[in-house]
Amino acid sequence: MSYLDVEAITKHFGATCVARGVGFSLEKGDIGVLLGPSGCGKTTLLRMIAGFESPDGGAIHLDGRALWREGRGLAAEARHIGMVFQDYALFPHLTVWENIAFGMSGVSRKEMKATITELLLVTGLKGVEKRYPHEISGGQQQRVALARAIAPKPRCLLMDEPFSNLDVTLRESLSAEVRDIIKRFGITALMVTHNQHEAFAMADRIGVMMAGDILQWDTPEGLYHAPENLDVARFIGEGSLIAGTLTPDGDVDCSLGLFTGMAEAEPGEAKRVHVFVRPEAVRVAPSHAPARARLEASCFRGPGRSCLFRLPGGEGVKVASHDRCGLTEGSSYGLCVAEEGLSLFLEAGGRVSR
């Protein structure tokens, strides 16, 4: 059994189903992220782990102990799970120091002082410990919330959209910082977000969640390069979908060219498939390339250009071009595709394995 084990959790609010047999597991010391569009049930799942909602079915184990099993659960205050709330939920009548010390019971004064001092140092809050929450900035409040959750040495840390109240520039720098802090204390953490940049910046494991279900639980790389179904592929990063045919030999024919050995040979009819191409897998090539397309739009993105090409059949292809020399809109170019950057999906959405 893994450190945090969530099995087949179901949950309804009235007639709406917000968890349909969700399951995943997290190893000790890892940071997991639940990523999904708003309203898919992430917060509810997190609150069930924290003990604020009760699942209708399923089981949750943490460090070998049952938090929830067979319709019974441990009270939230007995679970030893730290939580960082979306609105931080700092106590306005307590100073930064007192907020951090709030949950630390059963430790000596000396130990408490040492822990808090270390936390203040690590979170860069040294010097503001005597201030009240309304006297510090949003980013600082966020770190106080984190320090407060870590201070009682929880078995696991939960974070619900911890960066959503911050402005975009702060989000990026803070997410890397928060990952460092969590790793430094060796805490197992689970975060919830709808922002994939945050997810990639934080996670060892990411679960893509949609409509109350985890579609794929994987490493960030696995998620990006080997999405298990069409929904995940479309949700994570960018890409283009092109119609193609899978022959019984395992070759794929589509308007980007013929790719051999894409699947195991399987006797039978040729099948229609979706070919999914990441922008960086496509290169603008000399004109003798297998596919030609007209440049419809291009937009400067700093490190390169983001281009939209139109194939003769009418399908669009997004391409990340790194050429400094300009491409003219309206002209035709050759496109060359790296085979590893392709994913195949059946009509029903499932992945075709190689």
């Binding site: 087949a8 179901t10 309804h12 047999g21 924290a50 319709g71 019974r72 939580m83 949950g103």
Partner: protein
Amino acid sequence: MNACDAHGRGARSIGLFQRVPVSGGLVLALGVAVVVGLPIFLVMTSLFADTHGIWDHLRENLLAGLLANTAVLSLGVLGLTAFFGVSAAYLTALCEFPGRRFFSWALLLPLAIPTYVMAFVYTGLLDFSGPVATFLRQHLPAAAPFMPPIRSTGGVILVLSLALYPYVFLLSAGGFASQGERILEASRSLGLSQRHLFFRVLLPMARPFIFGGLILVLMETLADFGAVAVFNFDTFTTAIYKAWFGFFSIDAASQLASLLVVMALMVLTAEGWSRRRMRYFKGRDGRSAIRVRLTGHCALGATLFLGGLFAVAFAIPMIQLIAWVVEAWREELHMGYGALFSHSLLLAGGGALLTLMVALALAFAGRTSPGWLMASLSRLSLLGYALPGTVLAVGMVRVLSGFDHMAAGFLGVFGVALSGPLLQGTVWVMPVAYMVRFLSVGFNAISSSLGRVSPSMDEAARTMGVGKWALMRRVHLPLIRRGMITGSILVFIDIMKEMPLTLMTRPFGWDTLAVKIFELTSEGEWERAAIPAVALVAAGLIPVVLLVWQKEKVNR
């Protein structure tokens, strides 16, 4: 797994492990709702009771007059308070002229003067034997016959309006001020002149707020007992008092009261409606509107008008009161004011304490077990503020006599005979009566500060292993301390000023300042009534000053 099967089972069985705050809060709220609801219910049922002809007598001789008086009084007071309140609010919120800052808070001060004090000051001042009339007869005999009599319908309306216009002023000033600069600029750019702006934009947008203030005025007018009693102007409240203490018919009093309850409930419905509208209209777009600078005649007119209003509604009554106190205090001071003060403080303190505790319990119950049942129970519990004190007094007496009856019957079974009533006419029921009447005042103060404690703070504390009681002690109580203090001050002062409820439920000998004022004014002893009145006004100034401070803080 069949998810639908599992649904619901989990929710119930969580109780085995976790303390789920299901019934405790609801049971408590139910208890409070019964205490508040029972008097109202008994008053309402009395509509059909048999009163041995007294009711018929009342109906034939009085009812039409009472209804007409109530209608005239209400309409007159509404019209006059709307005029005073809205014009003062418009001038102080959206114009600039000499004295504006002063008037923006000073015009709230009359809130500290109870209506009955305002009433007796003006009757004393303007009566036939008063100083003004005497002066006129001596020095300007030609003008004397033209002085309008103060003891008239117009007089009551004027006096009540002077005491009550601050409600309209306060709310509509808020309404005017919340109309941001953007919307005014937009209107100007659409070509509206200042006058059109007022009638087509400002007034319609402030209408829900003005309406809210007028509803409060109407509630106070319907409930008023002391002022109309001074003027011998018969309304339902005085009729209830007379039916009970004159005819000794609690049934006839209840039947009159039930009519008043119907009116109060109608006003309450209107109030709920207006509150919803106010929320809808609360659209600030950052900066508040730039004030229009008045010049020349306009500025002078504004200053004089508001100065006159301030003089008539606050300065003159205060000067007159103080003059009377100076005249009377030597003879009066040995007359046992100690007992009056201590009774007032004791009752107000006890009532405020009880109200505070019930309000706290109700607020926490609402937090721990929310839901529609809880919401409707607490709405019922807060109904008391719409009920005139006379009605509540009648209702309480009915509840208590019913209870004593049952208790006597029950004890009789065991052969125990009671020498007198257990509860009725004892001092112990007074704090309960006050609690019923003023629960909403305390509750609003507490629940608005408790509302600022977000649910996630509770959850944060629980993830850190903090239990329910520790949560209350370490998080909730420190955060709502100010609300608790404000709430109890407000309730304390409201109880001090409350006249009919005290008058009709007090046991023999438990006179308070308000009761003393009633007794002295019914004998025309204005000078002597001024001493307790000044004490009440001084106490009443405390919440008004708090209010002004709050307002200034928001403005800055």
